[in-house]
């Protein structure tokens, strides 16, 4: 049952990601991107990372996607004309070189994964033996808060400053310059 739901989410993610890259219409791709991000949040829950899944939905769907739709609408005059003509070629292949390259990458990585299969690294086998793996009954958010405020305090502060700097920089870059 669990495996079936996992496969459903994985098929949702990969299928809509394939549609995102194969559709001609950028507006449709952006809304399909939304579905991919939701599916990824579902997969994070299967890896017992519920807080990461909620953050994914809040940051990506609430922030990144809205930003992308704004940028798309501000930078595309042919949006309305684009929405009206539905492309008849559904799975068009614009250039086969990039397709070949990405399939080659996928082949190499799947070969690696299959070869690797159950030869876990030492720290994983050690943790499994000692029972130090996250279970579904654990209180993740509590632990994450404690870790953020003790062990990972410096990276947390650094990334806060970084995010502030990046947002101020983005606002500065996209302002209207007054003509002199």
């Amino acid at each position: 049952m669990e495996l079936a739901i996992f496969y459903a989410f994985a098929a949702l993610v990969i299928g809509s990601a394939l549609l995102v890259v194969s559709l001609k219409n950028t507006a449709r791709s952006l809304f399909l991107f939304f579905i991919v991000l939701f599916g990824m949040a579902g997969l994070f829950i299967f890896a017992l990372a519920d807080f990461v899944a909620i953050t994914q939905i809040m940051v990506y769907v609430g922030g990144v996607l809205i930003l992308m739709i704004f940028a798309f609408m501000l930078s595309n005059k042919e949006l309305l004309a684009d929405l009206q003509n539905t492309s008849s070629k559904f799975l068009s292949i614009p250039n086969w070189q990039s397709l070949l390259l990405s399939i080659g990458f996928l082949a190499v990585m799947s070969y690696g994964i299959i070869e690797w299969h159950d030869n876990f690294p030492q720290w994983i086998t050690e943790n499994i033996r000692q029972g130090n793996i996250i279970k579904s009954s654990d209180n993740n958010i509590n632990q994450l808060g404690i870790k953020f405020m003790t062990q990972y305090l410096l990276p947390f502060e650094v990334i806060s400053i970084f995010l502030l700097a990046a947002l101020i920089g983005a606002a500065h870059l996209s302002r209207k310059e007054d003509p002199k």
Partner: protein, 101 residues
């Protein structure tokens, strides 16, 4: 409990789709989406491995850091795309050929 191989395979597929989007697309926003796919694949790997580390919770914590970094990258990238569009009236990276005026 889902095995690690399943997660790795899904994230490998997503990585390759993102790679295809970056190479093949003629639209800066689609290239940015490809980069987001690749970052998401990396986050899935972090989270899947982080399940085996209960002492440090390093996987989940660095997945959260990666999400924040991706959000910052998208904000700056979209600001740059808007500026480029204002100047060149196109967002096709092949038509944007010079760095200075």
């Amino acid at each position: 409990m889902i095995s690690l191989t399943h997660f790795l395979f899904v994230s490998a597929c997503l990585f390759c789709i993102g790679l295809y989007a970056i190479i093949a697309k003629r639209n800066s926003i689609m290239i940015l989406i490809g980069i987001e796919f690749i970052i998401n694949a990396a986050i899935l790997n972090l989270v899947a491995f982080g399940r085996y580390d209960k002492i440090n919770y390093s996987g989940q914590i660095f997945a959260l850091f990666a999400i924040v970094l991706a959000a910052a990258a998208v904000a700056v990238g979209l600001a740059i795309i808007l500026n480029v569009y204002r100047k060149y009236k196109t967002i096709n990276p092949e038509n944007i050929t010079d760095l200075r005026d």
